[in-house]
Amino acid sequence: MRRALVLAALLLLPERLAVAHTPGKLLASTPYEVRNPADSYALFGVFHTGAERFVVKLAHATRFAAPVEIFVPHVDELRRHRPAYAVVGPGLPAPSAAELAALPAPLPAGWGAEVELNQVTPRPVLFESIMRRFYWTSEPLAVVFPAGPSEIWVWSAAKTTGKFGLGFGVEEGGGYLAALDDWSLYAY
């Protein structure tokens, strides 16, 4: 019933006006290529082993400031699931020794990183009003993406497993109806 209501609401809304990120599915086996980095995205994935590293590839035409946030469903079995992320690329700040040690892969030469280890306590909670779901969130962080290529790496430092979402950007790009292709990933 709830799915039908959400579907009806989505179909009734003009897509360009709907307040929603462009959804996408993250796979550890394949980097996610962002087509339009000026738009906002909500990318969802699942840690099956806890050892995965998810990679998102972007390329901005100019330096570009936008919020980035990682979140997990607000369910009891994911209480200790705190995936981390790092925006990595040329021109980003040099990470601290602790951040460097936490990264899931060596930084390419000349690259820096903005690292979010998702350790805010008590854990902030996000209510997402389109899907009407609660999430535990890292809290958004404004990151200045460099001009040219950059990447976002997502990993689970404590090797915990479970679903997660990665959100970035503000401007609405549309395409939210793609969420219906993989409904169970977005709606826990």
Partner: protein, 98 residues
């Protein structure tokens, strides 16, 4: 209640529920914009090459301020970014001071 008034009210309530009302730029994001613009000016002067950061969404009237939910998230992101910058960078422009 007359029918047009009722329908108008329902429509307005539906629109507000879906999209919310625009909000003002937060002081946190105004400070963040000033700081990044100052960093860009300093970097441009030091290198001789213009450095400009696209801050449109955080600017007054930007996409961050389209509704309260977006505004709250953007404001948090600005506050956290400024906290990080101040903790990490020893020589920020004066525009970045608390």
């Amino acid at each position: 209640m007359r029918l047009p008034t009722f329908v108008g009210g329902i429509t307005a309530a539906f629109a507000a529920a879906c999209w919310g009302f625009p909000v003002d730029q937060s002081t946190e994001c105004a400070a963040y914009v000033r700081c990044i613009e100052a960093i860009d000016r300093a970097a441009s002067a030091a290198s001789g090459t213009p450095q400009v950061t696209d801050l449109d969404r955080y600017q007054d009237g930007g996409a961050c301020w389209g509704n309260p939910e977006l505004g709250k998230g953007c404001t948090t992101s600005c506050r956290r970014a400024l906290d990080r910058l101040r903790a990490r960078e020893p020589a920020l422009p004066v525009e970045c001071a608390p």
